[in-house]
Assembly symmetry: C2
Homo-oligomer: 194 residues x 2
Amino acid sequence: MLKTKKSVKRELILAEAAKLFKDRGYSGTSMRDLAGQVGMEAASMYNHIKSKDELLDTICFRISDTYISQLREIEHTASPYSDKIKALVRLHIQLMVEDSAAVSVANHDWKYLPEPRLTEFKQARKTYEKGFAALIEAGIAAGEFRPVNASVALFTVLSAVRWVELWYRPGRGLTAQELENNIITVLLGGLEQH
Amino acid sequence: MLKTKKSVKRELILAEAAKLFKDRGYSGTSMRDLAGQVGMEAASMYNHIKSKDELLDTICFRISDTYISQLREIEHTASPYSDKIKALVRLHIQLMVEDSAAVSVANHDWKYLPEPRLTEFKQARKTYEKGFAALIEAGIAAGEFRPVNASVALFTVLSAVRWVELWYRPGRGLTAQELENNIITVLLGGLEQH
DNA sequence: CCTACCGATCGGTAGG
DNA sequence: CCTACCGATCGGTAGG
């Protein structure tokens, strides 16, 4: 019972931390800022968390774990490579729309992770990128995709999805579905008419 | 003579500041870190600069001025819209390759600008985005581009170019030319075969 | 361009 | 969960 209440408070702190880290950056956010947002004194938060570093660590690795487990699932489906790539693009957009603060922190503030977690995070990201690139290369080998440089295609696709976090506001004209469809059209079909 | 030497030193400080801000963020970089990189004491830098804020301001507005003046030039050329978009994509990639630290700071740390410069920077960015989006819409109206949502296409293109700053290292397999050509192929032609 | 230093704020702990 | 407080570090200034 007590344990449950504490973990609820801990989740609240994590959620507010993600928002503040997104808006002001990890270094730009003080534990007193965060405490104010949560509604307690800075010292009191240390009953729920170990340190500022630990907040960043939890936020970053939850996101990277999600990406990697979803990639594994998609790898094991039997469908065309273009469908696999589309599914990954939709995954990125959905996560960004659902949990934009945490995704943003994992994208920008991971560099403040202290060792050895910094190295572990970079390795997780590399694992994900290699799996994604392998799908693109397989798609090229299968004749589904143009013979572009797979790394360039990978990063073009991955990054094309990242400004969603900066400008997309749900309910301002465009639904998440329309957003997905438009981005996939540009990335898979290209801007030009054929 | 003295004036020249001072401005040379000032440019050195600006260049090192851009590198540190890129690597550690604006808030994560102390004036003592920067002084160490430049080779003087923190207090001595204030003979060349006014404040830490002023460094950020100069870096950010130099970049936004460059983008806007180049956009104006491209707008006034008489060429197909797809060529105009390609020229803008090449401009982004070239600036990123040539001056990746400053571009990175203008992309990520502008939010630490103090008012009223923060508002001015946002306005400059909006001006650029509107000009870029207008070219995409004109291209759609002219039948050159698919009828996608122009805002989505704009941000997909703009952001597709941003991971260049994170992973591209000159002379590691890919030249800047090959990079440009591959990115343009994916964005304009699409990943899928047609 | 340096030494010496300012007040403010940082992440975190002690003790209740 | 709070008050009180720690040593460290921050951006910046005075004065030479």
